[in-house]
């Protein structure tokens, strides 16, 4: 997921009302921590003595405790999906355009929960957390994490919050994988699933890109087999991994529109240097640099590995068998320009659910923004989400002919 979601220019007069106080926004929000202090076993067989998940909630859990909507983030995302932490924040949470009072995911109706995944580095337990046995960061002694492990940890959080049934779970990219795993692993608990730009398993190409990212990190001498302090580590490797991954989140057309072959104003008039000359170079370098300030390289290794290992069909033989227990109504949304998790992979998920006799829909949006299209500000997308989450009252037929 990219960092810079293009937001619409603010309306005239927006200066008078700060955005975090505007109606239709969740406003100022604060993260919280869920501490699970019992042993937790990973699918790999390894275990830890407990874990922490950082999360945010918006809206209120109703008396029947069944109006919760879980938001699942993508590889580099986090728990902060709506609102502002401080009035000075430059940007709201990453899915603020979708979530809020009166928005497609309406926080007046729904209790929205979003947690940083297990293995992450934004406040949840992961390889950068302190290993209680050594007092130092786990590094690569942290257990291997799977999408299923992330889901199990988030289910424990939802239990802690008193949620007895998920009205829905929404995720794009890796978040879609988590959403699907909720449906297969907790079929009675999960009423609705919305997966966007997702897949039941990565293609060789997607694994290949992840591997290049991991190699960039691991070949950086500062990686030191995962043993580094918080301020050090493989900054060069992680930045390169991010630069390359970023390209896979967008598209040829969107990069061309945004940068074309434009040169930086500061570009040296001498073309025969390796300094930044094109805007796209400067942009990617900026992406890499901002990423290393917020993301842990070992988490990047662990989470990309979890993405690669994810294979719904492999667990049970076929996708249909994997979906056999699913009770959720599922909506899968693909995006025409997504070449990382292309429409075909999204269609295959829907078709397998339908073959398994489940209620599943597939919709496809024509965009040229690539994989990150799921973050698009699009009334068409909002309409789909609303239809899926809210549902009209049943239509009445006039049987008189």
């Amino acid at each position: 997921m990219t960092d810079d979601i293009d937001t619409l220019p603010s309306a005239p007069g927006a200066e008078t009302t700060p955005r975090h106080l505007a109606p239709g926004e969740v406003g100022l929000v604060a993260p919280r921590d869920f501490i699970y202090s019992q042993p937790f076993s990973f699918r790999s067989g390894q275990s830890i003595s407990g874990f922490q998940l950082r999360y945010e909630t918006y809206g209120t859990l109703n008396a029947t405790r069944d109006n919760a909507v879980l938001i699942c983030h993508a590889l580099s995302g986090d728990h902060h999906c709506a609102g502002w932490h401080t009035p000075a924040d430059k940007k709201p949470g990453w899915w603020n355009n979708l979530i809020g009072p009166g928005k497609a995911v309406d926080t007046r109706r729904f209790f929205v929960v979003c947690a940083n995944v297990l293995g992450g580095c934004q406040g949840s337990t992961g390889p950068s957390s302190s290993n209680p046995e050594t007092g130092r960061p786990y590094g690569i002694l942290f257990p291997f994490v799977t999408i299923g492990d992330m889901v199990r940890a988030q289910k424990l959080l939802l239990d802690h919050l008193g949620v007895i049934e998920l009205h829905g779970v929404i995720g794009g990219s890796m978040g879609g994988m988590l959403a699907l795993r909720f449906a297969t692993d907790y079929p009675r608990f999960t009423r609705r699933v919305l997966g966007m730009a997702t897949t039941g398993r990565e293609s060789a190409q997607a694994i290949a890109f992840n591997e290049v990212g991991r190699q960039a990190i691991m070949q950086d001498p500062a990686w030191n087999r995962g043993d580094y302090t918080k301020d050090a580590g493989p900054r060069v490797g992680l930045a390169i991994a991010r630069m390359m991954a970023h390209i896979t989140y967008v598209s040829d057309a969107s990069m061309d529109r945004k940068f074309g072959r434009r040169k930086k104003d500061t570009a040296n008039s001498d073309a025969y240097t390796f300094d930044v000359q094109f805007e796209v170079e400067g942009y990617l370098r900026h992406q890499g640099q901002s990423f290393i300030n917020r993301f842990d390289a070992n988490s990047y290794l662990y989470i990309t590995r979890a993405l690669d290992q994810f294979d719904l069909a492999h667990v049970d033989g076929t996708l249909e068998q994997a979906f056999a227990a699913v009770e959720a109504e599922t909506l899968i949304v693909g995006f025409t320009s997504d070449w990382l998790f292309p429409p075909e992979q999204n269609r295959q998920l829907t078709l397998a659910l339908l073959r398994a006799g489940k209620r599943a829909s597939y919709a496809e949006l024509s965009t040229d923004l690539g994989h990150d299209s799921f973050l698009l500000e699009s009334e068409e997308l909002y309409g789909l989400v609303r239809g899926w989450i809210e549902r009209d009252q049943p239509y009445v037929f006039d049987y008189a002919i």
């Binding site: 269609r347 829909s361 919709a363 037929f397």
Partner: protein
Amino acid sequence: MTKLVEKRTVDMEIIGDWVEPNTRVLDLGCGSGVLLDYLVQTKKVSAVGVDLELAKITACVRRGLAAYQGDMTEFMRAFPDQHFDRVICSRTVHELGDPTAVITEALRVGRALTVGFVNHGFWKNRIDMLLRGRKLRNPVYTTEWFESRPANPVTIADFEHFCVAKNIHIARRAHLAGDWHSPCRMLPNLFAGYALYDLAR
């Protein structure tokens, strides 16, 4: 309520009569899901629709229907033989690029197939064409030639011939008069405005 809506409910009723309760139904070209919604409400079917347009899929999702955006033939190829109890192809055949492929696939994935279409051979159409010598324009054919999509109009005689040529069994047929309301019992290719066929292999 416009007259067109009323006409619609007549063929909906016949289509519904041919659907067994609690069965699995696929609607090819489901539009906004009006027919499937009707079948879910009256026959408790397990329904899925296919359509090309995002707005139609959104409308179906809003009704709580399963709907798939994409090509109907490719969709059907993803399913095993006789996965559906009935496939419905209502007011769609004349828009198909390859009607034989669609109907053949529909008879493979479905135990039965309902096809409903406007009879292009209806006498008023013939006279209109003869006298005006221009593309039909009436409440059924609403668009000018230059604002129309390519269409492949079909008559009852064409369709019956197709079934013979492709060795498709016609289990039931229903021909409605020009009002699309009362049954048409005589010379349907001339006097029927609308036709419905219940097909099987």
